[in-house]
Symmetry: C2
Subunit: 278 residues, 2 copies
Amino acid sequence: MKIELASNYGFCFGVKRAIDIAQKYENSATMGPLIHNQDEINRLKNDFNVGLYSNLSDVKPNDTVIIRTHGIPKNDLKELKKSAKKVINATCPFVTTPQNIVKNMSKEGYSILIFGDLEHPEVKGVMSYAADLEDVHVVLSVKDLEKIIFKNKKIACVAQTTKKKECYLEIINALILKNKEVRVFNTICDATFENQDAAREISKKADVMIVIGGKSSSNTKQLHSICLENCKDSHLIENETELENSWFKNKEFCGITAGASTPDWVIQKVIDKIESFK
Amino acid sequence: MKIELASNYGFCFGVKRAIDIAQKYENSATMGPLIHNQDEINRLKNDFNVGLYSNLSDVKPNDTVIIRTHGIPKNDLKELKKSAKKVINATCPFVTTPQNIVKNMSKEGYSILIFGDLEHPEVKGVMSYAADLEDVHVVLSVKDLEKIIFKNKKIACVAQTTKKKECYLEIINALILKNKEVRVFNTICDATFENQDAAREISKKADVMIVIGGKSSSNTKQLHSICLENCKDSHLIENETELENSWFKNKEFCGITAGASTPDWVIQKVIDKIESFK
């Protein structure tokens, strides 16, 4: 039986990069959870003694502190630089981009519109970079635009990296109809959609599919549902202990994909176990 | 019987302004027809001796030359300034705006996209202001985008003033999905749509509607059709000689609108004739 990974799966570029950075800084601490995966945070603690701070007040003068993938607000970064010995920025470059756009456009006299969740740490970080905090507006839909009064006639727009493009366009269109200049930055990251496209593709060739990820994870369940459309023997598992020998009997092609919060080492353990069944 | 004009009708702001300018410069000549209405051009010739040139080579050293509402290409303007004694710019300010945007954005390193007709004089003028004439692209639909290779990653967009907003948005949306920054300038003028909205409104109140304009004019016919939806006694006429006394028998409210190429003096003659029926 052939075993093949989807062309895109699991961690995105930004998460992989943050973990690489954390592994380089043993005995450091992250400001907030580095990524949304407890097993991986435990591994970094056990193997590299990378700790976890919840508050700025936890930081001690000799600390090396790592900023997580979502980024943090500008003033928190300033505070952190004062209180820690060393600050390592593991903010995803795709998140640093909208932070810089908001900073520059705001300075150039644009009102700022962010398409995203006001409560999401990424959005909190991005909006903090506006020169005028009263002229940065966060919306989730066209309806939200109704309440907004922009201070300027020129509007610069960015989107939370994980949002849907179609919804962003709807908001942009409504803005263009009512404003003289709308400067649109496409800051949406394709990673989630690339994982889905790749799962769709490989599941068409596979006669058994293994989807690895949290059973309550929304993006993992979405991958599983896509695979089931093309391959009825698609199994969702959290780790290798759930694998059953019988799934692979008389199968020729086993496809593998993983949710956005699944570390590569969990995936490797699954592959090793399947190999052992042969 | 009450007689009332629609809240918007006839000439747009830019055309009215150009005629006011032409009337101030007796014995001048326009470079190309000032507006698309032969009666009005004849009137300017008869009453103000405003002539009409078709080619730059027609211009004589002592001439005062008026630039028409659609504007002219940058190099033609340069030539004109060399060959005429005085150049008066009657380009509509709503057309000057995209000319300046193209000039500035092109200088700032943006590729330029124009939504419009490549053969339209306004578009020819606007595109001539690009610093790099090989990186200014004119499209009419999303399909036209396929052949385009932009030199830059940042794209600035303007639209011909008389185009439909919905089509502009379709093109913008396709661009946003494929480019990091799209700077959208809403240069579409509302005049045509304002005339239509106003005709719709007044025809709901009227028991007789008079629509004045060319019988082959597309925008006049559109006004007539809108009026007919709300008032079955809607009549399309080119001038006052076509009015019939019987149309106004037992009527209480006469609404009037006019196509974009109908001068105010033609409208006034129509009103005077209706008044005389009372």
